[in-house]
Symmetry: C2
Subunit: 515 residues, 2 copies
Amino acid sequence: MNGAHAVLRTLVANGVDTCFTNPGTSEMHFVAALDDVPAMRPVLALFEGVATGGADGYGRMAGRPAATLLHLGPGLGNGLANLHNARRARTPIVNIVGDHATYHQPLDAPLASDIVGVARNVSRWVREATGPETVGADTAAAIAEARRGGVATLILPADASWLEGADVGTCPPAPVVANATADEIDLVRKALRSGEPAALLLGGGALCEPGLLAASRIAAATGARLLCETFPARLERGAGMPAVERLAYLAEFAAAQMENLRHLVLVDAKDPVSFFAYPNLPSRLAPDGCQLHTLVPEGAAAPDALAALADALGATRELPARARAERPDRPAGELTARTLAQAVGALLPEGAIVSDEAQTGGLFVSGATAGAPRHDWLTLTGGAIGQGMPVATGAAVACPDRKVLSLEADGSAMYTLQSLWTQARESLDVTTIIFDNRAYAILNLELSRVGARTDGNAADQFDLSRPPLDFVALARGMGVEAARAETAEELCSALERALAQRGPFLIDAIIPSGF
Amino acid sequence: MNGAHAVLRTLVANGVDTCFTNPGTSEMHFVAALDDVPAMRPVLALFEGVATGGADGYGRMAGRPAATLLHLGPGLGNGLANLHNARRARTPIVNIVGDHATYHQPLDAPLASDIVGVARNVSRWVREATGPETVGADTAAAIAEARRGGVATLILPADASWLEGADVGTCPPAPVVANATADEIDLVRKALRSGEPAALLLGGGALCEPGLLAASRIAAATGARLLCETFPARLERGAGMPAVERLAYLAEFAAAQMENLRHLVLVDAKDPVSFFAYPNLPSRLAPDGCQLHTLVPEGAAAPDALAALADALGATRELPARARAERPDRPAGELTARTLAQAVGALLPEGAIVSDEAQTGGLFVSGATAGAPRHDWLTLTGGAIGQGMPVATGAAVACPDRKVLSLEADGSAMYTLQSLWTQARESLDVTTIIFDNRAYAILNLELSRVGARTDGNAADQFDLSRPPLDFVALARGMGVEAARAETAEELCSALERALAQRGPFLIDAIIPSGF
């Protein structure tokens, strides 16, 4: 068999049966091989950022890697921002980047560039295949590395695809993740029993139901607070789940949340730092004098460690701190960030997957949905905007029986709006709400902090009203049904309509007052 | 003054007075400083690929660099594909990438990444500023490097912008480009006088009027053919200009164009290689036994060398080979790639700038415009699609008094469609024609070469008809007036309307038959 067939057969033999694609000529033999490997589902994107963000959303929900198929260095570049987000989410992705044939590379053809150098930016592992003999094994190695959590990039020269003499690779078993030791648990136990103010900072794998239940037992037994990293990859939440308090995005607010802490226990999370640095503000967010304890490092088996810690603390198995089932009333009147959030809280369906890139306009959505029926919340892990709509797309591919709600800021939407076309092509059940405040509102906020004028060239950089974007037209242009909402009633009505049907739908929610 | 002011003042003091931007928080002090340096024109883009491609189009037409303003590693990633094209075009660009404050970088905040590693992929020069004391000099160095032809990347940490103590930098004088030596000219003269079949391959700076006039004298004196690289950065052409034959994109056709050559003289061009490798086809395009001669290397003073060579050959100053003024008739009937090309040829206005990313659907446009009034032709230098609309945007910023015609394939358009919003916001005089064949037609062609089925998963990867893109809706969604054309008459009528007014306009030209 040729190399392309070996790559595809190795992928599907190891459960990687979905590939988010934007191929070109150097990937042609891979594409041709799709006809012979029907177990692989190719999901075409019109832009690589949709493909890489799609693989991120898929991996977060499926818990196993999707593949991508990108076209040389420029294709990788177009996909880089969402691979950056996937790296921060530690999402398993087998990132396949086609390259020129090995003997063509030294000739510096127009599309030649240093793919390895760019791939290193986002990848835990990078390998360039050298020929058909080893490409099956290379693919198996990429799958194994992706399963450790993160982006494994396999660069695939065209001749490694088209030459015969390849074999299906064998994937090593998934690595066993080490548990926290008894000593590690005991150190944390003592800190939490010190009587001093303490909190757990939960991240990554701690934010699933078993992790949150164990953390909630610990909180009940010790009085420790439960904090959650600012941008979790996937947070299970809603009525019946233990509530956690997400660290705020703005440094001052996050620091205030931790103001009096003497102990901060990191559970699959990092020592928290501010998203950006500001003149005369500290970058680290935990207060001076707060001791850090690492229960488990990032990527380790957080739920097991939390359960062991809860047991060591003699914590009861009862859970006093589950979120109550409660929804806001359906809002009426003016459409604002607040009434928009109420509408989402009032109508969010059971089992929804929420992809949240609503930014400033979405300030109140998390609070308004805390008691809504159980759902998953996916966020902007790496801060590279243009992630929300692709992640929603990939999550819908992974979970075809669940409704996906894509909460999207107008400015952020315009980076990867091509997601809508893939949603239409694949009939994905995604409802998108554009939080349309016609500004890079979060940057207006930052600009006011540096004391700039509100009417000059600077402020004009964050004004998206000239001309206004018409997201209804944009959605229809890509084959997605859409409606505009200018009042809370219109929003509720459009959202009910969208949620009652299957397939993609977009609501352009106009919130001119910003907040 | 603070670092941001020093950067801006250094730029404008050296003629870099246009900046294509998509900033974020780490660039906030740069943005704020725009209020105090009104000589800098910021041009906001909704996506970084529009900003970098805009700077490319600007630089190609203005002959001097624009700046960009990008947001950390992910912003650079989003702009990378068009910086790749700019690198291949050797367009001068001062590429400014904001970064975290220097002391914040080691903390690995969510947006942190290896910017230098990615920037190297596309940059002739990369420097990370270390603080306000040197940032003015760093900016001056970036300008000097960009002027040598290519992308100079200055990474600008937030504190290098916000701290006081900076000064305006002094730019060294532009480098003197070495001329070809008498010996070099004599070697080429002898080859052209050998009586054996010979051609000049003209690229880069040779493709301006003085270079082409001198080359035409040489052709007239020696019988040498005039070839032009496949994807020139800027080709001056039309009635009254010497005609050159562009090397074909497909390897077989390009090789056929050079079949019997014994001498190929490279004039600011590279030894031609096929765009992609194919099984059992050679990568180098010049035939075996064809001698290569380099009159001047890439980036050297090609027009001077050509003039010196013409004089050394005793070539007459008369030019027998100017393109005659002739246009096709206005087409009627079915809209096809051929009638679409005829319409462009019939109506192209004097002094137009054509940004050509029409791909397969544009096959006949070059021929149909050969005798149209004088115009410039800008092409896909690096092969990274999504370049045409941004380049058109930047060219319109550089040349506000000239009509820009953006010829764009439907698939390629969808990478950087956000260009339309910038065109609307800046009232740029760009007419876009979408060559809407509802397919990645060039990839269908490549797929047929590898023998794949036409009805399987493979072929489906290149089908853009499900759902069809409605470019009229997409354009209106970004505030650009638009019309659909389904017959040759409708196209002519829409094109006349677009050319008669100022400002952006888009025509969705449906050519369902592909060719």
